[in-house]
Symmetry: D2
Subunit: 388 residues, 4 copies
């Protein structure tokens, strides 16, 4: 157990130094140490998202779902939102928005596919929307959208472009400033590789200006309450609205320090090569990806199983030393499983993942080509060596 590998979709692959940074036994949130850690983390998430200093970062005591919900702070009564959904977490916007006095429509794709830029533009041409929500990487299937071109296409039509980067920030290319993204949100425990416990939002000046309107949000997640606090932290001072997840913030800071050392460019490249190696291994073994060609992410892979039961398969993998994640997309739930290859992912993780999938599935009766899978993984890494 102590040597089990965590390749769930979040929390995912961990770095002990990052996690143990959370053990601040004697440092409270009014200390200079916490002020410093918060400032460093806030500036760091801006760095990771490619957001310049005009953007305001927020670190909140909640999960990624909480970060999503906090973005209703940018809307007002009657705002019209177009939700572009490629799966469960795209659909989650619908569930969230249905609790607030806004109007919305949702465009959906089949599992493994992405709503196309054209489909979105077509909708925007015919109907006015104030905001659009885009899921950079859909955690339920591993589908990634071409975010840059999508944002470029939708930008002229809407006041606010909101990106769910929960499964992408820290592992996918992203540039809020250049791509003109208003709001991007994520969580601490995914590709940032820190401890679970913090929801993270970065907002443009324009988005922040919307916070001056009458709020429709709840209380804890009303960004208006947090705006002055984050401003203080950015200036190196402290502040209080509700208790921050102190330990998690120290962990985020430690993660950011490592990311800065690696550089975000090399980190994304590392994720890319690892993901490619994983997919090549899967294909060579004779399995199929849930996400279609061209929309596969660096961070999460959905993989169809055949011949065997996914529940028993996941238990077998756990017994063989890797924790993967179950499928959650309602249409294909029982036919696939998910793998997180993000955060502190490195080649040995991919090698072990492929080997464990092969070994576990074969032991349950599946017919997989284990040797070909391994070979394909290793060939992908040849000459690339994306270690950090």
């Amino acid at each position: 157990m102590v040597s089990r590998l965590l390749m769930h979709v979040g929390p995912s692959l961990s770095n002990f130094n990052v996690l143990s940074s959370a053990n601040a036994t004697n440092i409270g949130f009014a200390s200079p140490e916490f002020n410093e850690a918060m400032k460093s983390s806030l500036e760091g998430v801006r760095y990771v998202m490619g957001a310049d200093e005009s953007y305001t970062p927020f670190i909140l005591p909640c999960s990624g779902t909480g970060a999503m919900e906090s973005t209703v702070s940018f809307l007002k009564k009657g705002s019209r939102v177009l939700i572009v959904s490629n799966g469960v977490f795209g659909d989650r916007w619908e569930k969230i928005l249905s609790r607030y006095p806004v109007e919305f429509r949702i465009l959906k794709a089949n599992p493994g596919s992405a709503v196309s830029v054209d489909q979105v533009v077509a909708e925007l041409r015919t109907t006015h929307y104030d905001a659009v929500t885009l899921t950079h990487v859909e955690t339920s299937t591993g589908v990634r959208i071409p975010l840059k071109s999508m944002v470029a296409a939708v930008r002229p039509f809407v006041n606010l472009v909101i990106v769910d980067g929960v499964a992408s920030v820290g592992g996918e290319k992203l540039n809020m400033s250049e791509w003109k993204i208003d709001v991007c949100l994520t969580a601490s425990q995914k590709a940032l590789g820190a401890q679970a416990g913090a929801g993270i939002v970065v907002a443009s000046e324009h988005a922040v200006s919307m916070l001056k309107e009458e709020s429709i949000s709840g209380y804890l997640l009303d960004l208006r309450n947090w705006l002055p606090i984050m401003g203080e932290f950015l200036k190196g001072r402290g502040g209080y609205f509700a208790t921050p997840p102190v330990g998690t913030v120290f962990s985020v800071r430690s993660s950011i320090d490592l990311i800065r050392t690696e550089t975000i460019e090399r980190r994304v490249e590392r994720h890319k090569i690892c993901a490619e190696a994983f997919r090549n291994g899967i294909k060579a073994m004779g399995l199929e990806m849930v996400a279609g060609e061209g929309v596969r992410s660096n961070t999460v892979s959905g993989v169809y199983l055949k011949e065997i039961d996914t529940g028993r398969f996941l238990q077998e993998c756990m017994a063989n030393g890797v924790e993967f994640a179950a499928g959650v997309h309602p249409l294909i739930k029982d036919r696939y499983f998910r793998v997180g290859h993000m955060g502190w992912v490195e080649p040995s993780h991919i090698i072990k993942a492929i080997d464990t999938i092969a070994k576990s599935a074969i032991s349950l009766g599946a017919h997989l080509n284990r040797a070909d899978g391994e070979k394909a993984v290793l060939e992908t890494f040849e000459g690339k060596v994306p270690c950090f």
Copy 2:
């Protein structure tokens, strides 16, 4: 810095074993280990609150404020709520409820005082309310209400009695079952002494039955979404609605294990003696408590300063090795500071707190009787020795 003492009001005094339990680098939320930790934590918070098995516990990815807000799940459109407020965190109910379609009235006390049972009953006699919110210990001043008699008095008038136990659970006597409390909420980092990051709610069968009504809550904090998940964890299985604060849960479990070993009765007694020693020291030095006689808590003390600036005083204390908390009650904000003596508090902490307060204040020009303060602390502990 490494030996600084944290006596802020939350996170407060820590236990390294409890904090470091959070470092689960290779255990995801779908693992048997997490299922076990969650079950153990859920049963444990029930134990700490004196709630029998008919009560449903919830552990949520949010702060104590989030736990407060989640209780709107028990209300419906038009519900009438009486808020009994003795300070900033009582007033917080007003701010939370104003975001939801409910009606409320608030009864307020002067800083250091508590709204009396008679005042509350008088209001309930004249006006109908569906629910009443009570703050067991008001973190902004350290005022504690006589919860048992207050609940007994209000119980006949309302459908739901909601108790904010953020600053009391784990350090004050509390028995949800016997005292007929419907809902009690707290946070991981206060008297439970675990890592910050989890909001905790325990609800009676009756309260849970209210969750069947049309919800007015947001999404992340809608207890309806969490109810089946918590049910699964209580059965030793797992479930997912939004990512739980995995590390924090391991820390809560570890804290609960220690509390069970100490027993909640002895833990409350330990808090009581430590608080008494602290107050005796404060008085003997010539300082005054914010909370009046008879309404002083075991867990938080507000202390008036005189002659010197509170900001400089807190910095001086920090330099002398203790982090206390600033005052926050708007009417007296600049005249007092707060001390958390909870969680893993023991006599040496009180001794050091009193000594640091004396030393720091005197160095800034205050006239305090240091020796009398220390003597009073030690005399209080004589023959009691509330170590754990």
Copy 3:
């Protein structure tokens, strides 16, 4: 178990930050970080022993017994040594020296007593000795000698004064430079409060000059082998003779950092008050110290039990949450037990120790006055508050 208190005579009371500094997963002994930690630790042990820069410190991969044995490096074939022994660890010099081609005589005291300065001087007047060994604090009984006057008295007669400071360094007053001590040795896990694993020796220029003679020592513990290495580390560079206890050195460095912050003067004072409080508690309960009046140490106390079995008593204490040490002096072995109150000792430890002794002994049938014991402890601390 997780909250058990360790008041054994070594390892003794721990500080988690000090211990966890040992977790250097990715730093080898050829790294700049290790060079820095070693330099800082070497300078630190000099500081703690009151040794100026003319002294050479050694940190060795062995226990305190190993540090004792390493001092034969300063002797040569036929050297005559006078051993002044007040118990088991004084006698240990005899066992060590009997393995080497030297001559020695041993002066012994009854358990609880110390060989007097006069006895030692009388012996030195009649017989020539090259070296004398003195045990500052005798771990088997807690007896402390008046080191300063003893050294002053023996100094004129011998070439080398060797002090076993295993149970004193970090908790007792000691000034090698002023008191003209040639060699003083200790171990990492006693009053320095670091992890067990390092033997420590500090030697004067004069002593180091003796290392040029033909060696009679073994190999690992031959200080000749270590002399150039330590010289390199003191210059901020590295070196290798045998693998150093890397983690333990990081722990020593962390301990030294805290000691420097506290200052050795205040640290000794803290030990002194804690020891006094302990003894007052023991006496008030009706128990007797092994060490006689005037020769009681700050760091270790031997306590006679009566009416009950010491083995069962120690088990009962363990069950009640404190690990003490068994008696080891052969003449009184079954009649007493030992308590370490050193390193990170603070008042709460003493309070808990006395309470646990009382509770455990009474539960086994002893007649002790628990309340008086506690009262005496607390009165000792009044107005002193030696917290760090």
Copy 4:
């Protein structure tokens, strides 16, 4: 720094769970927990060395050199020892034995070569020896001897076969019982992968019977002193001769637990494949191994550099994130460096090592074929996947 890789020859690659097991803040060496950890560790080192229950294991507070020196406990005055040395650590036997009243002769090999079985047998045929010392893997060059056949060949001639397994135990095949080895010693921080601080010796019944003779050893390292203590620990009880390295023992126990889970056979296989991949990478890049064909170990590799300065090269590697070890063999010292690939080594470490060597050497002007090196590593791992 936090993400630097430690591929020194010891301490080497670490596992955080193993290292952090050492943080036993509240557990002394007289506790049931320590007794259990010691028993488990003692049984574990027997398991790792393939020693049946008739063998006695010792865990000592010293380094590997101390473990070597402790084996003089098995000799007596005038014992004749044949030292078979393939480098610095073989020569170390000469330095150790020269401190004791024994006679010895040393057979030496050129750097990178091993004294052959025939050479040893030829010497044993002409001269009588009581004991022979064999270095399984020579840490100074990475040369490994064919231990099984060597022992079989020398066994008939001598009373005691002593094996230095410092750089082999836990990473090389070894079976004391089957191969009829009397004494094998190692250290905690090498292929066992635990914290530095413990010397380890395992001795056959026959060897232990030699401990009854008059001892020529020193005191701390006299196994006679430790024999009854280890006997007690093996029975689940405790004992004391000198302070054990408490934390290190907990770390060894944790390491042993993981080794048992992996099994020693799979662990050796993992080391073998990783070593092979490393060597293939080195060769493909155009570098040469110090150890000749047929005598290369699974655990340590010496590598000749050309064109560039080794000191600057090692600094560059450190800056690029890997700590390797300098050369130490006096004849070739400035022309090579050493790499530890042991303990928790896995493919990603080898990949990173090769990449760092290439990158660093090239940046200093060497002409290496980086891509070929990487390719060769990856091809070696194909279809083998020796993850744990």
